[in-house]
């Protein structure tokens, strides 16, 4: 028996996962803030503390994500795309297309039947299909981002947004609110606009079932349903979809 640590330093959140051999034992998710190294250390310590072990019990550590290079206590770094692929293949071996919705970036990854990466695409130029869009929406509606999903599901008539740009959608939402549109219809409209943008991305890697949605965006049930509507099929969503890459990193660490 040995313990392995995977750390995913994302632009929004830092995730640490501890595996015992290849079994998930504990994890921690904290905001990345301005100091990525500190976030990596803190999330790791949180995860270790939960199962009463310390850093010296860890046999191997792999870092991934936006700020992976700064994690000096990791033995190696691995790209977040690879970690995602490993993580999703571990959780849902039948998945061939992963849609990852992070705080700043959204990605689509196409896997073969062995879980190897065939192709991937990432949108780093535009906040249109990213978690940022949800943050903007929560702010203008003065809501907690966690409540958007459930509210969205109560909508009977989603607002049609004419734009996929987060900035323009914000002013469009403000206009619609002042005309009396319901918050639920606004959120559902935003989810629809985001999912169209995300599907465009996923189409470019090839839409092959089964599908999984990962990242912080997967915690928004309204967004997931909107994506499923576009895909015309269900998707796999892990119990904690935000730790997929960190889990992949820990699994990879156990294989070295």
């Amino acid at each position: 028996m040995a313990f392995f640590l995977g750390i995913d330093v994302g632009s929004g959140y830092t995730k640490a996962v501890v595996c015992e051999d290849t079994s998930l034992r504990s994890y921690s998710i904290i905001p990345s803030g301005g100091d990525y190294r500190k976030a990596a250390l803190e999330s790791s310590e949180n995860a270790l503390k939960k199962i009463n072990i310390s850093m010296s019990d860890i046999s191997n550590t792999i870092a991934t994500g936006y700020g992976a290079a700064i994690v000096d206590f990791a033995r190696q770094t691995l790209s977040d795309i690879s970690c995602h692929a490993i993580g999703i293949n571990y959780l849902f071996p039948s998945v061939r297309t992963v849609i990852d919705i992070g705080a700043q970036y959204s990605r689509a990854i196409h896997l073969d039947s062995e879980g190897r990466i065939v192709n991937f695409i990432m949108n780093e130029k535009c906040a249109g299909g990213s978690g940022k869009f949800l943050q903007v929406t929560a702010r203008i509606l003065q809501m907690d981002i966690k409540d958007l999903g459930r509210l969205s599901l109560t909508s009977e008539k989603p607002v049609e947004f004419t734009t996929a740009c987060a900035v323009f959608a914000e002013s469009e939402a403000v206009s619609r609110i002042s005309e009396g549109a319901l918050p639920a219809d606004i959120v559902a409209g935003i989810h629809k606009a985001m999912s169209s943008k995300i599907i465009v991305l996923a189409t470019r890697v090839g839409l092959v079932p089964d599908y999984a949605v990962t990242g912080g965006g997967a915690k928004d049930i309204g967004l997931v349903r909107a994506i499923e509507k576009e895909l015309k099929t269900n998707t796999f969503v892990a119990q904690e979809p935000q730790i997929t890459a960190a889990l992949g990193a820990a699994i990879f660490a156990s294989s070295r």
């Binding site: 700043q104 130029k125 535009c126 906040a127 940022k132 903007v136 734009t163 996929a164 740009c165 987060a166 900035v167 323009f168 002013s171 403000v174 206009s175 609110i177 002042s178 005309e179 009396g180």
Partner: protein, 280 residues
């Protein structure tokens, strides 16, 4: 007897009304605001007061711009591209290429004899539009009107690598807390917008003279940055915001006169000067 005409340009950010007789009789610029669908009549009322005219004195009215369908009292809707070309040609007849930087879009228009030859437009992405500058001004705490002058004192414009407005906002605030100076940041913001606009407009075959219109033309820092990116001087009309509304009013006059010449009367809108109603 002089006939009077009106052009109403409902932009995403500003609403402009021009009343035109023999020359400009009234010119009103007001914020569009979130309630823009109800606003057109109020701005028109103001313009009529300024012109000392009654609504009934207007022979023909054209609405243009992003919100043109929300002007029930207008007799006709015409796209802002056509109106821009018309208005600009009357102000600066030598201009062949117009760069318009509005609150929520940017455009390039090629003109010949006051008519549109071709155009390019970005209204899909906030980068390269006035909104980009507005958001940056807000997060830097600099009044929008001071951005231009402030950027002229920059010694080395900051490099802003993000295209997306949302990401660039983070980048700018990070650079500010990292010690970059305000003038350099503001100059970098203008360069970013100028780069985007120039790459859009270069899809047209740019011919001099080049003019800039829209709210962006009021920002001297942006104008200078654009001149650098385009590699040529740009002309600025005296009131760069009203080009579209002026063009709409002139077009209203031309249409009216064409009909009267043929002994006909153009069909008019039946709505008076009342609020547009929605969700009815």
């Amino acid at each position: 007897m002089i006939n009077y005409f009106a052009g109403v340009d409902i932009g995403s950010t500003m609403t402009k009304v021009v009343i035109y007789g023999e020359g400009i009789r009234a010119m009103i610029i007001g914020p569009t605001g979130p309630e823009h669908r109800k606003l057109a009549n109020k701005v028109m009322e103001e313009a009529l007061i300024q012109a000392h005219l009654k609504f009934e004195d207007l022979s023909y009215i054209i609405a243009t711009g992003y919100g043109r369908i929300n002007v029930p009292f207008a007799d006709r809707q015409v796209t802002e591209i056509t109106c821009h070309a018309k208005g600009l040609h009357s102000l600066l007849p030598t201009v062949k290429t117009v760069v318009d930087i509005g609150g929520q879009d940017s455009k390039g228009i090629k003109i010949k004899d006051g008519r549109v030859v071709s155009f390019v437009m970005n209204d899909k992405c906030a980068a390269g539009t006035g909104r980009f500058i507005e958001i940056m001004a807000d997060s830097l705490g600099v009044p929008l009107n001071d951005m231009g002058r402030l950027s002229l004192t920059a010694d080395k414009p900051a490099m802003i690598s993000s295209t997306c407005t949302v990401f660039a906002e983070h980048e700018v605030t990070n650079q500010l807390s990292g010690g970059e100076t305000l003038p350099n940041l503001v100059a970098g913001i203008h360069e970013s917008v100028a780069t985007r606009v120039a790459s859009l407009v270069k899809k047209l075959n740019i011919e001099p003279d080049v003019a800039i219109t829209g709210g962006g033309a009021k920002n001297i820092g942006l104008v200078k940055a654009l001149e650098k990116k385009l590699g040529c001087p740009v002309l600025i009309p005296p009131e760069p915001l009203i080009t579209g509304a002026l063009g709409a009013a002139i077009l209203a006059k031309e249409i009216f006169e064409k009909y009267t010449k043929e002994g006909q009367v153009p069909e008019r809108s039946k709505s008076g000067l009342q609020e547009a109603k929605f969700f009815d």
